[in-house]
């Protein structure tokens, strides 16, 4: 009985009742675990810290051998270079950032507008071969981009969508629709369909019931889903590099990758541009952290 009482009181791993020798061993293990976790955290975070450091270093410190970890001159020049061209005016990178905002934003909006109603319909109605349709939808998302880009390239060349923002928007929307449907179907499933039934008994049509009662409840889910779609489009590189070429159309990932094309590479600028590029993603990801598991598995795994 005494044991069970101890069990009920103990909150941590229940090792409190063990003799002191084992407790000591337990504490040693616990210390070891903390040390191991710290080491792993340092290793995983070091590249990020190094990127931040490089972005605020002067060029001669960036290339210093051996590498300077602490004693370097802090400068914000690299961040200025990201936005301002050497001769004044807007830099090519900042134009690429604006393109990215436009392409990612519009493609996400398109995927949401197409995907959310489809998710609702798949959740509520008995559709023929529903499971097969849903699996088919998800499997289009798994196609290797390099393979898809070959026919897309030929197709776009025929219809004049090569090197256009519309072309990128369409392909990103097509890659985000499967994700939106799977992710949103989970959210719709969580809203009881009885709400709609009740509304319909009050005289609303099914469409009105969806629009007035279910949709408002889905808004947080829609926001989370859209954020993930936004991150996918924002980070995407393969389609961007093969389907666009001119500065007026190019999004940020190929533009940043283009920084290392020349004979000398300004790594400080690369680091600053990468940080500016990554920061919104990290903020957005933090906002949707509750839905990360579902988000990164394309809506397939929920909690």
């Amino acid at each position: 009985m005494a044991v069970s009482v101890d069990e009920a009181v103990a909150t941590g791993p229940a090792r409190d009742r063990t003799p002191s020798a084992r407790r000591l061993g337990g504490r040693g293990r616990s210390v070891l675990e903390v040390v191991l976790l710290t080491v792993l955290a340092v290793v995983m975070l070091f590249p990020v810290l190094w990127m931040i450091e490089t972005s605020i270093k002067e060029n001669r410190d960036v290339y210093a051998i051996p590498a300077k970890f602490f004693n370097f001159t802090v400068t914000m020049d690299h961040f200025k270079d990201v936005f301002v061209a050497p001769g004044g005016g807007r830099s090519a990178l900042s134009a690429a950032f604006l393109n990215s905002v436009l392409v990612a934003g519009v493609s996400t909006a398109l995927a949401t507008v197409l995907g959310v109603p489809a998710a609702w319909a798949y959740s509520r109605f008995s559709v023929k071969a529903k499971k097969d349709q849903l699996f088919f939808i998800l499997s289009t998302r798994f196609m290797p981009p390099v393979v898809v880009v070959i026919p897309i390239f030929l197709m776009y060349r025929q219809v004049g969508l090569i090197d256009s923002k519309l072309g990128l928007i369409l392909i990103y929307a097509a890659f985000n629709v499967p994700f939106t449907i799977w992710m949103m179907k989970g959210f719709v499933d969580e809203v009881p369909s009885e709400y709609e039934d009740a509304a319909m008994l009050d005289g609303y049509t099914r469409l009105q019931a969806f629009w007035r009662f279910t949709l408002p409840l889905l808004l947080p889910g829609i926001a989370a889903t859209a954020v993930f779609a936004l991150i996918f489009s924002w980070n995407e590189f393969v389609f961007a590099i093969f389907l666009t070429s001119s500065d007026g159309v190019r999004t940020a990932p190929p533009a940043i990758a283009g920084l290392i094309g020349g004979t000398t590479v300004d790594w400080g600028l690369v680091a600053a541009a990468s940080l500016v590029f990554a920061l919104p993603v990290l903020i957005f990801a933090y906002l949707v952290r509750k839905h990360l598991v579902a988000g990164v598995t394309l809506g397939a795994v929920r909690r």
Binding site: E33, L40, P47, A118, S139, V147, L170, A257, V293
Partner: protein, 316 residues
Amino acid sequence: MSDPVSLTTDHPGQAASATPPAPGRSRHLSDRWLAVAFISPALLLLLAMSVFPLLWALYLSFTDYSATRGGPAHFVWFGNYTAILASEQVHLRALTTLIYVVGAVTLQTVLGFTIAYLISRRTRGRGLLTTLFLIPMMLSPVVVGLFWRFMLDAQFGVINSMLGSLGLGQVEWLTRQQTALFSLIVVDTWQWTPFIMLIALAGLTAVPKYLYEAASIDRASEWFRFRTITLPLVWPLLLIAVLFRAIEAFRLFDLVYILTSGGPGVSTETLSFHVYKVAFLGFNTGTASAYGILMVLIVIILTQLYLRYLNKLKED
């Protein structure tokens, strides 16, 4: 005020007892119409942007079409396929891809699960730790690739600098045949260990506490608890994560493109990268299409496997 309320609560009973077939059917019909109207736009976009291109690629894969040469395409039927399947070059890339996928996914799984297990045993600071660990996963492959290329640089890279101050020799991480593929695996592992960690953590926190309590009443050893409680309960979820990563690693292109461009020689050319070279540098569109279709077949098989496990998980 009370009248309409009683009317609405009455209604379902009446409808059920009378069961008028006509309104029921019409509602069903309108439901069906609504389902079609809501689903078909999304499906049409997928058909236009995914299915149609793949069918076109399938058609091209039976021809000797070249995107630059132009001119009419001649049917060569399975010529492209037999050429690819018999090609020594392709076999080499398949081996590289296999080493890369197996190496990276194994490392990620071991590391990711270890981190998740360690985090799950902490009582405080879990949220913060998880958030910090997840950062690499959210970065674009372009950022990751560029940054590691800088850190792994043989002359002024920070990794070699640290090795130097430890008194160890310099390593040409990205420019030597033996180390380049290894470096690629390390970078991919750095980025995607958090993915496995995240999912393993979801599994670990879902293990009911009372199971551990019951086991500790029975004075079961730590290892026994891990083997008989933790692992069996987390394994199905972990398997999904592993399969997902395997598919992603198989189709990976951007990291190779940024980090090594397939070099030195062809030592880091994966199948994805080879397809790109055949299509956009060699301009053998027909051959590249056949190559791509074969890759799609492999992806479909892997996806089927993934979905089957997913289904199993959902049914439990």
